[in-house]
Chain length 378, copies 2
């Protein structure tokens, strides 16, 4: 159930795609929306002012990281995450589950939760549904996530076990939750298996969360498998609540996700690629700006891009910054890459509102496929 | 001589202090002014937009660094330094001399110039007055500097030799210069020796540059020695041209310099301290933000500071960023430190314009001395 101060309203639909408004205590998310990731309470190399200049609305932060450092109790004492990181807009925290399963050392899973060692100092830690919710309540994000287990998507027996635990933990998270100014989203798991995904989506839908997430995708499966699962989950989840595809992804993933009913996306890719000298472009192409061919290239990263970086700097300058190991390189590439994703989400929304999303997709996927086949040849 | 498009006008004087306007092709420098250093065509970790937000007017860039990488010819091809780094305001380039004498390997000085090996790739390079001017003309800064030798300030015989070379090179720079849209400043050398400084200031003054710089200070001498030299040079240099104290310095250096007739300052200190986790404060105190005492400190870096960092972030958050090795730490500390210096220069100017600079100095130096004696006790 979606209760005040939250509400969700669909402004327009086209096929399975939706343009909506999700109201949170810290502002409205106009969906589809792409959220930059601020793992440690900072979107790497960018100030909140720069994020706002990119029309960022939603920022994601990580429960696992902030619990370990500086500690969620400290963040609470400092006035909560919004004040601590000076982000006045909506924030989403994940549950910590994904990081425990991918980053932590010596993790030991039981039916109640997970015991693990911190990747920072090796200290023994524990996360379970109640602890995850308590941490997320201390952090104080607008959207918080149920504690789940994201497993190898191909090992069916294990995927089933993890899914059953995830369902059990989802109920415990619901019971543990206290704050009314946070919306708890459930998470569908089930790997690449249609029967498990169907079962998981139906179960999570039955718990009547104010929003639902699709976890365990973009973790090694093929794009075709991801699309099949998205279509199946789209049918099983309630239409009148937002859907969040976790940890995805690229420009083409955004288009493909919205086509299959997704409203919210997040991914570290734009800022991570930036720190590895790569620029994303509108249709999924990438430039490695270190390449010698850009040494005297006066063009911006992406022709026609309206971001601060493309309006002011040449590829030659950006290459110089990277080669000179200047921090500004990461900042300027992050601005461009995030703009590419956030602006694409805004254009997708506009296309849905204007009833032109089908043409948008056909054009986008055609150009994307031409660029990719061209890049493959090189 | 100061010729169009340059001009210099003194708006107010108080004692030896002056508030002036130095007009350049890319804008007016309201002096006293503090210039951030953008060694490799970027003020480390800051965008030009952020610099402009700090009311930066003048930015310094390094001839030695840009000649070696990406190459001044490339910068020229890309439209010159203003366009390359997207800084629309005034730029000053140094001559490369200081870096050759401090950074380069295997340098060999002769009467004509310096042969050295690049600190980047060990390649053999040469700088002399004509080459330095040609590089600076390729870069295209508004203010360019004569090629000089900055020596150990205490070795009198060597200081004299270096000074004679510097004078000879100053004349050669004047003869080599072609572009009318660049103002070439001469540089006074002479270490800590009053007779040499007197001789150097008179000689450089006789060459009638549009502006004069004082080099070879803040390189190991005492503050008292620096002040003595500044007072002496102030008397010998023409009053109706701007004076630039190279590579200085701290808030107290700014006040002490202006008191002794200096108009233009630059220093890497604000951004270098930022990258070493240190915050400067108005009266010369410093905070090492890593200290455990700041872990739960909700205060801004400096009470009453109006910079973006102090308006939005607590010491606790900045400490978290540093400890988490987040790049944003350097950005936010650089913003604060540069604001501290640029804002102090603006306040000094205002005090001179209002005839209150003497009171300003008394108050400033008193608080500075209290803070320093307090910090010494801790």
């Amino acid at each position: 159930m979606i209760s005040p101060p939250f509400s969700y309203q669909i402004s327009a639909r086209q096929g399975r795609a939706r343009a909506g408004k999700f109201v949170t205590p810290h502002g409205v998310l106009e969906t589809p929306v792409f959220a930059p990731v601020g793992t440690q309470a900072t979107v790497k190399s960018l100030t909140p002012d720069q994020l706002a200049g990119l029309n960022t609305t939603l920022v994601l932060a990580n429960t696992y990281h902030l619990h370990l450092r500086p500690g969620d109790e400290l963040v609470k004492e400092m006035g909560g995450l919004h004040q601590f990181m000076s982000w006045p807009g909506p924030i989403l925290t994940d549950s910590g589950g994904f990081q425990v399963f991918s980053l932590a050392k010596n993790r030991r899973i039981d039916q109640e939760g997970v015991t693990f060692r911190s990747h920072i100092d090796g200290s023994q830690q524990r996360l379970d549904p109640e602890i995850s919710i308590r941490i997320q309540e201390n952090l104080g994000a607008d959207i918080i996530m149920a504690f789940d287990e994201c497993s190898d998507p191909y090992d069916k027996e294990y995927v089933r076990e993890a899914m059953v635990r995830t369902h059990n933990w989802a109920e415990r998270c619901q019971q543990a939750k206290r704050r009314d100014d946070q919306a708890l989203f459930g998470i569908v798991q089930g790997g690449i298996f249609e029967d498990l995904r169907q079962e998981s989506a139906e179960f999570i839908a039955s718990l009547d969360f104010p929003g639902n997430a699709i976890g365990g995708l973009s973790v090694g499966e093929t794009k075709a498998e991801m699309h099949t699962i998205l279509e199946l989950v789209d049918q099983a989840l309630p239409v009148d609540k937002p859907r969040y595809l976790m940890g995805v992804g690229t420009p083409e993933d955004l288009v493909n996700g919205v086509m299959r009913g997704v409203d919210i996306f997040d991914c570290v890719l734009p800022t991570r690629l930036a720190r590895h000298n790569a620029a994303m472009t509108r249709y999924g192409g990438r430039l490695n700006i270190v390449n010698a061919q850009y040494a005297k290239d006066e063009q911006p990263l992406d022709q026609g891009c309206t971001c601060y970086t493309c309006q002011h700097f040449s590829r030659a300058y950006l290459r110089h910054l990277v080669i000179s190991k200047e921090m500004l390189a990461a900042t300027l590439l992050s601005i461009h890459n995030l703009h590419t994703m956030i602006n694409l989400a805004a254009d997708i929304r506009q296309a849905i509102l204007e009833g032109e999303f089908e043409d948008f997709c056909i054009h986008f996927l055609q150009v994307h496929s031409e660029i990719n086949s061209h890049q493959d040849k090189n």
